[in-house]
């Protein structure tokens, strides 16, 4: 059963340089208990998509222009601010990228976790603190009772991200949005945090939207992937399918840019070299009539710059927006 349905979402920011089409017609579904990864480089609109779901776009700078976001059948885009407040942190929680700055420096850990519990579940402060302690134990923070009275600066980055997770899951949300949850952590801690998130997700049966630019994180955590470029969805498939048969040239570019230890390039007689995607992300204030990736794409033809490619299901359960899927797949084979 689908818990979240995003349909043709357009979120725009109104700046002095013009309208920025940060999210430009994105649609996806998320099933209960599923982990969906949204992948793309900086500025492709993945974080804005997440913020749009929680309606956290600052009204002064931008807004959701059109499209629909249905959560458990409820249309989120038309709810009042008051109703949204009841959903944030209760039914849908969010984990941010920066554990070092995402906790308020002047409030204790216990206060910050208990506050959400008390507000959303209507329990007493003491019960809120008890739940906070339970959650800290759940995220494997040692000596949880003492930690309740500590301040964020007394914790390491990994511990703070654990606290963030505890906070996000304290009200047993049905959907967890994780915006680059491991980007600011070092590699050994990254793996621990990801494992912890997946373990807790099973425990409370939540669905996860994992926003990341790290295909390694995708492979380890997600069942399905949405690849975004310049505010548009360019490809969507299950993880295995996407890594086996990437159909969009952008996805292929991303994959070639990952250092891999298992391919012994030296043995094939050429030097191991990572390939970057040439060019720059397009400026989003100008309307792009064709494929947004065309200027950087080795397969691009005139048709690509003139006409926007539709999302087509070329293989079962695998859709991509590219005019030249055949050539891309052919070259890969």
């Amino acid at each position: 059963m689908s818990i979240l349905q995003v349909r043709d979402l357009h979120t725009q920011f109104f700046t002095q340089d013009g309208v920025v089409r940060a999210v430009d017609g994105v649609s996806f579904d998320l099933d209960q208990g599923e982990t969906l990864a949204i992948v793309g480089e900086s500025g492709c609109g993945k974080s804005v998509t997440a913020m749009s779901i929680l309606r956290l776009i600052q009204a002064e700078t931008g807004r959701i222009v059109s499209g629909s976001i249905k959560f458990e059948g409820r249309e989120l885009t038309t709810l009042t601010e008051e109703q949204m407040r009841g959903i944030r942190g209760h039914d849908i929680s969010m984990i941010f990228q920066e554990p070092m700055t995402s906790l308020n420096p002047v409030l204790t850990i216990g206060t910050q976790i208990a506050e959400n519990v008390v507000r959303h579940l209507g329990v007493s402060w003491q019960e809120g603190l008890n739940r906070a302690q339970e959650m800290l134990e759940l995220v494997k923070i040692s000596d949880a009772k003492r930690r309740l009275d500590e301040y964020p600066h007394q914790l390491s980055g990994g511990m703070r991200q654990r606290v963030m997770i505890a906070m996000a899951l304290a009200c047993r949300p049905k959907l967890l949005i994780a915006d680059e949850p491991t980007t600011a952590l070092d590699v050994t801690i990254q793996a621990q945090i990801l494992d912890l998130m997946l373990e807790l997700k099973e425990k409370i049966d939540a669905a996860i939207v994992m926003i990341t630019h790290d295909l390694g994180v995708v492979a380890e955590t997600a069942q399905r992937v949405v690849v975004m470029y310049a505010g548009r969805k360019v490809e969507e498939a299950t993880v295995g399918e996407l890594f086996a048969h990437p159909m969009h040239p952008y996805t292929r570019g991303l994959m070639r840019a990952i250092p891999r230890l298992d391919i012994d390039a030296e043995a094939e007689g050429r030097r191991a070299r990572l390939q970057e995607i040439p060019g720059m992300v397009p400026v989003l204030t100008q309307p792009i009539p064709g494929c947004a990736f065309a200027p950087r794409c080795p397969f691009a033809t005139e048709k690509c710059t003139a006409e926007r490619p539709p999302l087509v299901e070329n293989r079962p359960g695998h859709i991509a927006a590219c005019w030249h899927t055949d050539r891309v797949l052919e070259q890969a084979a």
């Binding site: 929680l54 956290l56 929680s93 941010f96 002047v106």
Partner: protein, 291 residues
């Protein structure tokens, strides 16, 4: 082996050593605080440690400092020591009350301005208006309109100080609002008064406390200036400003009646500023580079 272990364990530092370390780490807080504490103690105990500051001793006019008159006497034969110590009361009361009132009013307005854009547009224009009026002139105008007294002096000094606190608080609130932890609190469902009071307010405290010390120092100087001009506290209440003002005519033959209260004023303002600088470095190290 055992001996090595013993030597490696540091002994708990004695109280004296701890105090020494604290002074060495924050010398400005310590010295500023110590001078202020002594002054507060002197001012509080003034009626018991000095004579009557208003008592005239015509036979003892313009006496230089001596064993009987520690700080000398003025042209009416009044004890400058008693007057100076009593004058400390006015300065400290003015400094502390102005700092307290200006902080509370400024903090409230600043929080509202930083958080609600519509309030901001209106209140900040009013603040700009107040800031464009010279504070001494505003005070003189207010005081000439009413009966002189400590209360009206306080009001007259608080009004021009408020905009400075409002501007500071507002800018701090604006920068805190864009912090990830505020976004994170909003994404957890916090909004409105709770966000403002529980999440933003405590973060404004460090810069506000530092600003309050500067307001305190500046208020003491303004009060002394007003009293010197005769627009401050009435002459029957000795204040450093009016002591200096009255001693002015006899400066060449009795310089002590100006120099001593002047030295006290300088020392007090210096102590408050030292305390403020020390607190700034201690509470918010980032500010010290900016200011």
């Amino acid at each position: 082996m055992a001996a090595v272990t013993d030597a490696a364990v540091p002994r708990a530092p004695s109280l004296l050593a701890k105090t020494g370390t604290a002074i060495r780490r924050n010398p400005t807080i310590f010295f500023g605080g110590a001078i202020l504490l002594i002054l507060v103690a002197l001012a509080a105990l003034a009626p018991w440690i000095t004579g009557d500051p208003l008592k005239l001793t015509p036979s003892q006019r313009l006496r230089p400092p001596s064993e009987r008159w520690w700080f000398g006497t003025d042209q009416y034969g009044r004890d400058v020591f008693a007057r100076t110590i009593h004058g400390a009361r006015v300065s400290l009361v003015v400094g502390l009350s102005v700092a307290a009132f200006a902080s509370v009013i400024g903090l409230t307005l600043g929080l509202l301005c930083g958080y609600f854009r519509k309030v901001d547009a209106i209140v900040m224009r009013v603040m700009d208006g107040i800031m464009s009026i010279p504070s001494i002139l505003l005070a003189i105008a207010l005081i000439t309109l009413t009966r002189p007294g400590l209360g009206i002096v306080l009001v007259a000094i608080v009004i021009p100080e408020v905009p400075r606190v409002v501007r500071l608080t507002r800018s701090v609130v604006l920068s805190i609002r864009s912090q990830p932890y505020i976004e994170s609190a909003i994404s957890g469902g916090t909004r409105g008064a709770k966000l403002l009071i529980r999440h933003i307010l405590p973060n404004t405290m460090a810069p506000l406390i530092v600003q309050a010390t500067y307001v305190c120092a500046s208020a003491m100087l303004v009060e002394a200036g007003l009293s010197f001009l005769g627009a401050g506290v009435p002459p029957e209440i000795p204040s450093w400003g009016n002591i200096i003002s009255q001693g002015r005519a006899f400066f060449q033959i009795a310089p002590w009646s100006i120099l001593i209260p002047g030295a006290f004023l300088t020392l007090t303002v210096l102590a408050v500023n030292l305390l403020g600088d020390g607190l700034r470095d201690r509470l918010d190290p980032r500010l010290s580079r900016r200011m």
